[in-house]
């Protein structure tokens, strides 16, 4: 055995570690797992693409009709895609015991959970934001609404990840979850959907958007500051 690998300091106190190190390591780990599991990376995106492209087939191919529903369609699909991938957030960690290691870190859980949520958004939310202009084009969204769509999704999808994380954290210990995750998460995320879709629809009518942006920004600030705390508390209950 290597003796020098044991590194208790002479006074018996462990070497301190910065919160940033733990935050970075957690984010890096989650992104690495997502990269290695291509399915997890592609599934939400494919789902998003498929749902949106079904609307012209199922509803109507009339450009005027599609223009009317474009904003709502993209937003609903983004919400569903985000929910589809939520389960990846803590399930594997719960099953293999990594979650216990996370909870026993001396670092504030807020930042570790935040790192996981940011990781989830980078993998499931950001690609949807980037793909949305293409789908908006498919649905004949008016030209001046493109930026609004991208911008509202950029503000709104992190909220979906952050609020969704609370629901997953609460249900990760349950054997058969069924629809309970949707029941918990949807009431929290529906306001984002309403505001986001309304903002895009209002652009075409020439209405001011400041209120929509402020509301989305407020929701993002609220979820960034409080949701990780709620997720951390829920995770503690789940492993209990």
């Amino acid at each position: 055995m290597k003796q020098n690998a044991l590194n208790i300091l002479p006074d018996g106190q462990p070497v301190p570690v910065s919160t940033y190190t733990a935050f970075k390591a957690t984010l890096r780990r989650d992104l690495l797992i997502a990269l290695k599991r291509r399915n997890d990376l592609l599934n939400p995106l494919m789902f998003f693409l498929i749902v949106v492209s079904l609307f012209p087939l199922g509803v109507s191919s009339d450009p005027q009709e599609l223009t009317r529903i474009a904003a709502g369609t993209v937003w609903v699909s983004a919400l569903l895609a985000s929910m589809l991938s939520l389960d990846n957030l803590y399930r594997a960690d719960y099953e293999d015991g990594s979650l216990e290691q996370l909870l026993l870190s001396p670092q504030p859980l807020y930042f570790l959970v935040l790192a996981k949520n940011i990781g989830h958004w980078l993998v499931s939310g950001l690609p949807v934001v980037l793909l949305s202009p293409l789908l908006a084009y498919m649905l004949y969204l008016p030209g001046d609404a493109y930026w609004t769509l991208v911008f509202t999704l950029l503000l709104g999808t992190p909220v979906l990840s952050l609020f969704g994380s609370i629901g997953v954290a609460l249900t990760v210990g349950l054997g058969s979850r069924g629809l309970i995750l949707a029941v918990i998460v949807l009431p929290l995320t529906v306001p984002v959907l309403i505001i986001g879709a309304k903002a895009v629809a209002d652009v075409s009518l020439g209405l001011p958007l400041a209120m929509h942006y402020s509301l989305l920004g407020a929701l993002l600030a609220l979820s960034l500051s409080l949701a990780p705390l709620a997720s951390a508390a829920a995770l503690k209950i789940s492993v209990n």
């Binding site: 690998a5 044991l6 590194n7 002479p10 570690v17 970075k24 690495l32």
Partner: protein, 230 residues
């Protein structure tokens, strides 16, 4: 092994226990697992928690770590109630549950990089050395799903070599290890104790460690402690 840390820790241990539990009570599904359980663990000691299946060994360890809060009683870390200073307790704690905490998609090195970063800064050299001393020299970059259960357990155990934690809480660490692995782990436990660390371990395996071994038997009525040297 240098003598100075051992000596300083030795005197500290004589005054107050590292970890202490007072009148612990835990009930699960209307069945009392233990009641009025007192124990204390000093630096330099290895304590084996014994008991039949379902006697509450894992529950006790999870209670001590703070993963389970369905209990009554008091817990102290270096004389301070754990709830008052959880952060410094967690900084000194290394817990390995019977779910090993190894992600199957990541490689051994990636797993250790993360789990060690949660507790202390760690270099890749230290990780490689730890893996090598546990017989996983060529396995650092292999995805853990391609390893056997025993090898995954060893990846998890490599944390013991890297972690600066003073208290080790190990839940059934011997289950999937082969004879050589068992020997190596026993050696590690003794080495940790000799350095002033404390170990709390559950196992059905007859521990053979060249240091003081104390036993905490959860089956015995009234729960008594008996010290025995192995």
């Amino acid at each position: 092994m240098s003598a100075s840390p051992q000596a300083s820790v030795g005197t500290a241990a004589a005054t107050s226990p590292l970890l202490e539990g007072r009148s612990l009570f835990c009930e699960r599904d209307d069945r009392v697992l233990f009641s009025g359980l007192d124990f204390h663990l000093h630096g330099g000691e290895v304590m084996q928690v014994q008991g039949s299946n379902g006697s509450g060994k894992t529950t006790l360890l999870r209670i001590l770590c703070g993963l389970n809060s369905n209990y009554e009683g008091e817990l102290f870390w270096q004389g301070v109630p754990i709830d008052e200073d959880r952060e410094s307790f967690l900084a000194s704690l290394l817990y390995l549950g019977h779910r090993v905490g190894v992600n199957k998609i990541l490689t051994a090195r990636e797993n250790l990089r993360w789990s060690c970063a949660l507790h202390g800064p760690v270099s890749d050299v230290a990780i490689d050395e730890a893996l090598a001393s546990l017989g996983l020299a060529g396995y650092a970059d292999i995805a853990c799903r391609n390893m056997s259960a025993g090898q995954q357990q060893r990846v998890s155990l490599a944390r013991l070599l890297i972690s600066p934690a003073r208290l080790w809480v190990l839940d059934e660490p011997f289950t999937t290890l082969d004879v050589r692995g068992v020997k190596a782990l026993e050696h590690l436990l003794a080495q940790h104790a000799a350095r002033g660390g404390a170990v709390l371990v559950t196992t059905h395996h007859a521990l053979n460690v060249p240091c003081e071994l104390r036993r905490l038997n959860l089956d015995t009525e009234g729960v008594r402690l008996d010290a025995a040297s192995a």
